[in-house]
């Protein structure tokens, strides 16, 4: 349990746990499992304790230790080889979600203890049960006769029972462990998203209370950056842990607000005047689109290093990217009057492009070498978890050069997407073509 907790594993499946031995009032023989359950936040899914133990005393000790015990879809306390121990489970849970919610409550209350989940033995054959029970009693008698004591009792009894039942007890053991693992998996599946949300919530709460100190520490740095480049780097709460995956892909590229204008009528557009129609907005930009797709597919965490303006478009773009799972920790926001990039296009009623204006100046101005040089944390991500870097044609030649040199030094492959035909020469102009590992060209349309 300790190792599971250290590894961040919250649900643990096993056959049975240890408990309080018969005659414990004399021998003080109590399993360390019960203590561990009170101080380690791991949920243990098991089929109770072996019937050779003193089950009522076990329940008392668990209650004394403050460990919640749930019977999973059963009211009785299973006893490993049988479902009827004669004792009842203190609480009952009928779905994995209920158990997951209880675990979240405990996390919210900063509880240190674990939970015990009791899963009944699958398909118990009454005949077998009686057979096994009598084998257990016989084995206990033999243990007594042979003066077997303390921690040697359990292995002796188990081995004797296996012999006496001709291996049936071992088969039963294996099948119940598999069943417990299935239940534990169901619980873990329900727990994971709730836990992630709870963690983010508590991170946010913590950040708010320390915000004052952080901003005063950072402000001299921000002031320097503003003077130099008219922009500030946003090391905000999206750089906090809990990424989708331990692998990451860093995308240096454009994030654009796309504005599509289409006429209502199917008549030809009238020039030099207003035509009634629809204007719709969506988020685009090659770099941003690729990052969104990577976030959707979930095999790695995308970081988008882009530039946005200090305007409503920028705010919305930022929010949208984060909601889609794109990590915006290293995005740069303009502190002067650069607007967020916008692509405004007029289409005719058939969907063909009539004319468009691309206002992408911000990328040439702000996606400069400073974006990499001034962000040490970004450099660390690149050196450690980053599997691949994506560059699109929106970045400046100088940044292309800087990133290429960095990636070459740290053995990170570069994927280049030119964005437009003229930009195909970007790696050549910056003399970095040999640093590009995958050159993707999608400008060849249907013939």
């Amino acid at each position: 349990m300790i190792l599971a907790a250290k590894a961040g594993i919250r649900v643990f499946a096993t056959g049975g746990i240890g408990g309080v031995h018969r005659g414990a009032e004399i021998s003080m023989d109590i399993s360390a499992d019960l203590k561990e359950l009170s101080q380690t936040p791991v949920t243990v899914v098991c089929s109770g304790v072996k019937s050779i133990l003193d089950i009522p005393k076990t329940l008392e000790v668990l209650e004394y230790q403050g460990v919640p015990v749930f019977g999973y879809q059963t009211e009785s306390f299973p006893a490993f080889f049988t479902n009827e121990s004669g004792c009842k489970s203190p609480f009952v849970a009928s779905t994995p979600l209920e158990i997951a919610r209880a675990m979240i409550c405990q996390y919210d209350l900063d509880g240190l203890n674990g939970q015990g989940i009791l899963v009944g033995v699958p398909n118990p054959n009454p005949g077998d049960t009686v057979h096994i029970e009598s084998a257990i009693h016989q084995a206990l008698k033999e243990a007594d006769l042979n003066k077997i004591l303390g921690s040697a009792v359990t292995p002796y009894v188990l081995s004797r029972v296996k012999d006496l039942t001709g291996g049936a007890s071992l088969e039963a053991n294996i099948s119940l462990v598999k069943n417990n693992a299935a239940v534990a998996a169901d619980i873990a599946v329900e727990f994971a998203p709730l836990f992630r949300a709870a963690q983010e919530e508590s991170n946010r709460n913590r950040k708010q209370s320390t915000k004052v100190f952080q901003s005063s520490e950072l402000s001299p740095q921000i002031a320097t950056l503003s003077e130099a480049s008219g922009s500030v780097h946003l090391n905000d709460d999206s750089s906090a842990p809990s990424p989708l995956s331990s692998r990451s892909v860093v995308v240096f590229g454009g994030a654009v607000v796309d504005q599509m204008m289409t006429p209502l009528s199917s008549q030809p557009l009238l020039l030099h005047t207003s035509n009634p129609g629809n204007i719709s907005y969506s988020y685009g930009g090659v770099g941003r689109n690729i990052a969104e797709g990577i976030a959707q597919l979930g095999t790695s965490t995308p970081y988008l290093v882009t530039a946005i303006g200090n305007d409503p478009n920028g705010v919305n773009l930022m929010r949208d990217c984060k909601s889609k799972g794109i990590n915006m920790a290293f995005a740069t926001q303009s502190t002067s009057n650069h607007s967020t990039a916008v692509y405004s296009a007029v289409h005719d009623h058939t969907g063909d492009l009539v004319v468009a204006i691309a206002a992408m100046d911000i990328f040439q101005r702000l996606l400069t070498p400073n974006v990499l040089k001034a962000q040490g944390h970004l450099q660390n991500i690149l050196k450690s978890s980053c599997e691949l870097v994506v560059l699109d044609g929106n970045i400046s030649i100088e940044l292309f050069s800087t990133v290429s040199a960095f990636c070459s030094q740290y053995d990170i492959p570069i994927f280049f997407e030119p964005t437009s035909v003229p930009k195909c020469t970007l790696p050549i102009a910056s003399n970095c073509l040999h640093h590009v590992y995958i050159f993707f060209e999608y400008r060849v349309y249907n013939l």
């Binding site: 797709g293 959707q296 790695s300 994506v390 035909v421 995958i438 050159f439 060849v444 249907n446 013939l447």
Partner: protein, 184 residues
């Protein structure tokens, strides 16, 4: 032929001619340049196979430049923690599929044609899609699909490989039938 296609071919050809690295088929490239360049009218009779074959020539020239200045001992060298072996050129031909030009050691027996000792090429066609809604974002979706597959490949294959290209194409297909650029 759409302007972008001709423009792209002309641009690639120009780069190759201008670069000081010697390429094996310089005369071929010059011919292509005159076919697609500004001085001659765009030939609307160009067939897919002709375009593919021209692209193979231009692409392999580009790739040999990408390989030649490499400071790695061989293009195939790769540290195990990163997901790509060698240098690759992927050209999307829209509905005519993907043209992949890369190291022979990676493309292996799947290659259509070996262009040089080290460079092979494969043309991967896609199944035609009936109900295309919106082509914008298809290329970006392909990239996302390909990259996601590469990164997930736990050491069993350093790509691009056929699997990751197919994953990219699948994701691009989803984008084509969706109104948004990136499929949900």
């Amino acid at each position: 032929m759409k302007p972008n296609t001709a423009e792209l071919c002309a641009l690639m050809a120009k780069c190759l001619i201008n670069d000081k690295i010697p390429i094996t088929n310089r005369s071929h490239v010059s011919k292509i340049l005159s076919k697609y360049g500004e001085t001659s009218p765009m030939n609307s009779q160009t067939s897919v196979s002709e375009l593919v074959s021209d692209m193979r020539i231009l692409g392999s020239g580009l790739l040999s430049i990408m390989n030649s200045k490499s400071n790695r001992p061989a293009p195939e060298f790769r540290k195990k923690s990163r997901c790509v072996i060698g240098k690759h050129l992927l050209i999307s031909l829209g509905k005519y599929g993907i043209l992949w030009i890369g190291p022979s050691s990676v493309i292996g027996k799947d290659a259509d044609i070996s262009i040089t000792d080290h460079i092979s090429s494969k043309h991967i066609t896609n199944t035609p899609i009936e109900n295309i809604v919106n082509t914008s974002g298809a290329g970006d979706s392909f990239c996302a699909g390909l990259i996601s597959s590469l990164v997930a490949a736990d050491g069993s294959g350093y790509g691009p490989n056929l699997l990751s290209i197919h994953q990219g194409m699948k994701y691009a297909e989803k984008s084509l039938i969706s109104t948004s650029a990136v499929p949900k």
